[in-house]
Amino acid sequence: MSQTFTLSPAELALRLGDDALILSHRLCEWCGHAPTLEVDLALSNIGLDLLGQAQFFLNYAGEMENAGRDADALAYHRDEHEFKNCLLTEQPNGDFARSIVRQFFFSAWQQLRFHELAKSGDATMAAIATKALKEIAYHVQFAAEWVVRLGDGTEESKCRVADGISWSWRFVDELFTGEDAALRPAWEARVRATLNEAGLDLPAPVRGITGGREGRHSEYLGHLLAEMQYVQRCHPNAQW
């Protein structure tokens, strides 16, 4: 029996919402630090799209939980082990190439996953996915173009993008657990096409690291949450 059948809609909304929320925060860390102003704007805009998606998913997860928690409560008042994002999204930014590879891997996965979700019988989930797909098309294109530009650039940029690939590769298995395993061939084909264009290839298989979906995270998530939740931890439920 595949995993999706045992996954409640609330749990799925939480996972997808946490993915978007955590990666959105990582992208916002680039604000003011990206290599050029245009890239700075691009990364912030992608982060903003993801934050909007997170808000839709988490509000819906809260609605289904029916315990009075909305997106803000779920984002600001949960501890590490309650977050269900995949490990890929919480990985530290590293250099620009590493962030770009993380984005490409994630957005390409999200695009396939949301195509499935858009066909879901759950009208709310389908609506969020359909809306998000329009944005994700831009994210995939942006990240893929940079992978090619860096891979096909100088020896240095190629080295860095290769480092980004090997860093992120360990976290790819987690994207294809349960019923999502069926998406892997299409994802690999999509990623391989871009890597080949960049003069690179898919790495050899490695033992994947998983756990995020069960709330077992890398040490990086705690530091991220400490910053993200700081104000709400100091002044619970503060509004302005």
Binding site: L41, D49, Q55, T130, K134
Partner: protein, 163 residues
Amino acid sequence: MAADANGLAERVFTLLSAVPDPEIPVISLTDLGIIREVRPGSPAEVVITPTYSGCPASIAIQLSIRQALDAAGLADIQIRTELSPAWTTDWISEAGRQKLLAYGIAPPESAEARLKLKGDAPAICPQCGSARTQEISRYGSTPCKALWRCLDCAEPFDRFKCI
């Protein structure tokens, strides 16, 4: 009853056609195509849809709708946000496109124009009308715009992204 409902919808649309978009104040909320319908009932609802999932103007837009409704004595109308069907640039009115162009923003192509061209066509420079243009960055000053430049008059300009 039906006549009343039509009357109310017409009144609300006229009212909101005077409310500017907070980020591109040259066009109105109705020009932008984010006011989907006025649903009769008690209370009646005005149904709006966001342009992008994370559009930071969403809250400002709801506030200005609320203010406009309140000022017109329609305080009992509720504002509802619905995601489906997802907003598309095809819902920007023809008048809205002309206003964008006059303001210096290249409007998005219509759905028919996109079908004829495979892939992205070059933007038309809103300053000089040249089609010799180039994309600088797919993300501009707001999520809905990309940054372009004209190779003839050398001016940079924003282009509304087609989604």
